[in-house]
Symmetry: C2
Subunit: 369 residues, 2 copies
């Protein structure tokens, strides 16, 4: 089996500006080529696009405008974890020998059709993600005594960290008090508890062991892959204070990597809502169940960037199809020691947690330098 | 590397009836379960949906309504060769060791948004596929002396073969004269030269060598995979009488399989228009360039089903995301000896040719019993 590594990336700023999907895809691809002097278009065997955009044939369109003539080219969609799904596909194309070099580009426009669960008509107005965010929040409060202050602290931390992320959507820092007074959306959620849909694109280059040296001296290896889809409707969850798909995906990923939660130096977790960061660190077994809030309090007070160093979805913005790719890029930078102000000292093992639709599907990747 | 085989399938009738995409997906999945007595939902590691439908998260939705909780689940889109793209992904998930059993389901509604090249605004009315079909036809006529009768014969043959395909859209047989008098669409195309978009769904079960015996005694092995995307706009083709992506995909696929065009007993080729069948048999090197029309004449006169035994896209209908899967199912039935009235004697090696958007992308699969 070929070993598989992340060998380069291209990042663009996440913003409210609306741009054509083709421009978003191309800009992050250009940034990737700029970061990879030895990369030629003809090196790329496979082009995968991660998006919820309704435009068809985007992988062929991107290939044409970027001057690439790949073997395999298609779009991958799974709502908010489209990005890591496309990275897992890239891994499998390389590990199976069908490709040596895969370009994965995620992009989304701010008004992406993937934001609302249109397919579930039975939910009425409860189609909007803030309703599952509210139910998770209420449940976590009830079960673990999580407070509004605990939730605001997640948001404050992630906005603080995002200030050092030049590609983040937000560059404002807020006090916990300010956030606790932000606009009320539901009984359990304020606007500051929510990540924001926005425009953005991110690209990674993934390669087989025998060619990594052409592109980087610091390959970041994909060591663990875990995925689980438990349902399409979150009401089938056994619990609303735990994300079963995340628990199961983490188990599979740790088993494949032969690593354990204690080995993780840095993690990008899917904070679609503030409560999701608390649930994620618990469900990934980075801390015990119920200890998320005290763990995040310590991180906030000590400015420890172990969780969501780029500012998470709440600070960086959430362009659906790009999010999983951006999480992988941040982890790659951390493991390569190139994260500048965001750098965690001596990070060797990183984890990416990316999920969809009320955590009905999760991906957990484990990366190692 | 794990060996990978097609081990079961589920077919549904292609028709003009409009049905929800979820029903189409589920019906073909049910048919697959009916055909596979030993298959349990928990056996399925990965669910891939092939479609151009704009509904998001269809792989999770199908999984939930079919009672499956897969690891990996996502949608694959590449216009008309979405189907074989998803089969290639299934192969790579299994060959790389990420999965043992993959369910691939392709489905399309008759009014699929993938029919028109909406992304290329510069084409004006020429967005509609009949215009590239016309240009290919004019070019093939000019270069090889192809006549209206040669084209009508492709349509007559495929309608004749479709009569024995219980899932075909069309069950009418036409004389060459009748077809040569069908409605004129452009200077070079009649309505009988065109495949029809329709509703339909097809499902296949793909498995690793170590588990094939649980599902079938007649696995059909995926021996060759070739794909090429040359552009997104067909005007970049070097020639309009040859499909470069098909030529290159075939080369890659034959090389991987260590087989040659002379080994092919049966082929499903992508006859989006009548001229495409002539071009395909030539570009796949089943016959020399320019000999497609005399080859098809012999097939028609001798009722030899070597090319498009189920009636091709012209006879069977073309529900975009399902087409590549349906082609693989037909080839599987031929190689298992279960194609009934359509059966080619002693078929051992089959080829599937599936393409997108004026042959700007092609997939060539080689299957062996």
């Amino acid at each position: 089996m070929n070993k598989v590594a992340i060998v380069s990336y291209g990042n663009t700023k996440f913003s409210r500006d609306d741009k054509p999907i083709e421009s978003l895809l191309l800009n992050s691809t250009k940034s990737l080529f700029d970061n990879t002097p030895n990369l030629m278009q003809k090196d790329i065997d496979t082009v995968l696009v991660s998006t919820n955009d309704n435009t068809k044939y985007l992988s062929a369109i991107l290939s044409e405008i970027a001057g690439i003539q790949p073997k395999t080219a298609h779009t991958v969609e799974s709502l908010c974890n489209s990005g890591t799904n496309s990275i897992v596909s890239a891994y499998s194309y390389i590990a199976s020998g069908l490709a040596n070099v895969v370009l994965v580009v995620g992009a989304e426009r701010k008004n992406s059709p993937g934001q609302i669960l249109e397919w579930d008509n039975s939910r009425g107005e409860y189609k909007h993600p803030i309703f599952w965010g509210s139910i998770f929040t209420k449940s976590h409060k009830r079960e673990f005594g999580t407070t509004e202050e605990d939730l605001a602290r997640v948001s404050a931390k992630n906005h603080k960290f995002a200030k050092d992320n030049p590609n983040a959507y937000s560059n404002k820092v807020f006090s916990i008090d300010e956030l606790m007074n932000s606009r009320v959306l539901t009984e359990d959620l304020r606007v500051s508890d929510c990540s924001r849909s926005c425009s953005g694109a991110s690209a990674v280059l993934i390669a087989s062991e025998q060619v990594t040296k052409r592109f980087t001296n610091e390959p970041v290896w994909i060591k663990g892959i875990g995925q689980k889809t438990t349902s399409a409707g979150f009401t089938k969850n056994n619990s609303f204070s735990s994300m079963r798909s995340t628990v199961e995906a983490a188990k599979i990923s740790f088993q494949m990597s032969k690593l354990s939660p204690g080995d993780i130096d840095v993690a990008e977790v899917h904070d679609a809502f503030t409560v999701c960061e608390l649930m994620a660190v618990e469900d990934l077994r980075i801390v015990s169940k119920g200890e998320g809030r005290s763990f995040v309090k310590t991180l906030y007070e000590t400015e420890d960037r172990k969780i969501n160093p780029r500012g998470g979805l709440i600070g960086s913005g959430h362009p659906l199809g790009a999010t999983g790719i951006a999480q992988v890029i941040e982890t790659t930078q951390q493991l390569q020691g190139t994260a500048k102000k965001r750098q965690i000292q001596n990070a060797k093992v990183g984890l990416v947690h990316n999920m969809s639709a009320a955590a009905t599907s999760s991906t957990v990747l484990i990366l190692q330098s």
